[in-house]
Symmetry: C2
Subunit: 265 residues, 2 copies
Amino acid sequence: MALPVAWILDKKHVLIVGGGEVASQRIQSLLPTDVARISLVSPSTSSKVRNLVASDARILHIDRAFDDNDVTGSDPPDMVLTAVDDVDQSRHIVSLCRAQHIPINAADMPPECDFYFGSIIRRGPLQILVSTNGNGPKLANIIRTRIEAQLPDNVAGAIENVGLLRKRLRERAPGVGGELSKRRMRWMTDFCTVWQMDDLATLDASMMNQLLDKHWDNMSIPPPPSTSLRRRLHEFISTESLLPFASGIVIGASIAFAALRVRYR
Amino acid sequence: MALPVAWILDKKHVLIVGGGEVASQRIQSLLPTDVARISLVSPSTSSKVRNLVASDARILHIDRAFDDNDVTGSDPPDMVLTAVDDVDQSRHIVSLCRAQHIPINAADMPPECDFYFGSIIRRGPLQILVSTNGNGPKLANIIRTRIEAQLPDNVAGAIENVGLLRKRLRERAPGVGGELSKRRMRWMTDFCTVWQMDDLATLDASMMNQLLDKHWDNMSIPPPPSTSLRRRLHEFISTESLLPFASGIVIGASIAFAALRVRYR
């Protein structure tokens, strides 16, 4: 079992070796991150890879075969992804990276990897990684799709707002570590427990200021904005349970009609 | 935005600096992985940390303050996690690691980290990481709990079985790369698409052999084991929709009674 983590690529340089299907998948995994630079070394590229390279100024296509210098030279990458069919070349690149302590993922060669990719869901600042530890990429995909369908619609907005509120709170009560840091964490935790996802998604700048003005000093949590009947109903009868609910009505009515028919016949 | 990945710790040595609450959280994140060695450097430890150290032979407690040699010496770690309150010490350890290209997570100092921890769900070989990119740890936790509640009960068994089937298939049709590798991938993908999670969870060794004997050569996918009425019903009316279904029956029956009353009065 590997350790799932979120790898920070801010200010980092990633080298991709290869220009085919896997290379385009790797680029697509990287583009939503704040990676600083991607170098793609390959003498040939698919049209998909060319389109991706053209779409983002952070990607540089180096139009030649891999050279040891790409890893051992004066501009070493912080992470390497091989995406070539040539198993021996891939193994050679792995050994170069290993010697330099550069983390590497070698496509289709799990035992040579420092880390695996998985199926990822992204919704604003939320990222969910589904990994089956190499047991079944397709199943990871199926599970990802299921989770995606069940995520609340406003989850991205709720998280963004909580992030903003945290930032404002840190500006108001600054400092790292110690009691204050714990107090901030406790208030935020209590707040996110009492307010539901839907409530958090409705927060705006003036509500945040009001909240902090009135409730931070005395460590209280106000009740969430009044829950509308429509939302309560929606919580009770979700999209998934609409059909069972409707068929319940039909079944109930039919039973009643049948029972009464027998009685009044 | 960071890149969520599964970091492989097999054969790796992780150094934890600190012995309090965060240190025990870090140990708990690491123990389910196949990390080879954990060194914990701290002159003081909480009882929780001591219990964890005693519970697993892979953890070695080094009972003294951190020494530069722990990172720069002859037995350098492959990953470092600081879990100390002292911001300056944490920063110093970060700079040592940075110079050696050793990935580091410094607790409570996001800008100094190479990677973040997130909320993790584990079910057998399945791992799901929920990360809000530092916007709200509590929300990550709430989302994790929701996802956890909605996972199929037999998801771990299904993934384990698919992993075994893939292994058997690779033994039967060995080789890395090229057409064969693509053919194997296609058959497995089709199989996991046609068979549902519940079906996959019922696979056993003799079923797997039969499957491969009869269906691999001609690239066919047999229909899944006959779906029982009970399961079809369960799929239609899930635990979550039972209440709406039942109330539908009551509402339907009431309407029918009321309507008939008016008519037959």
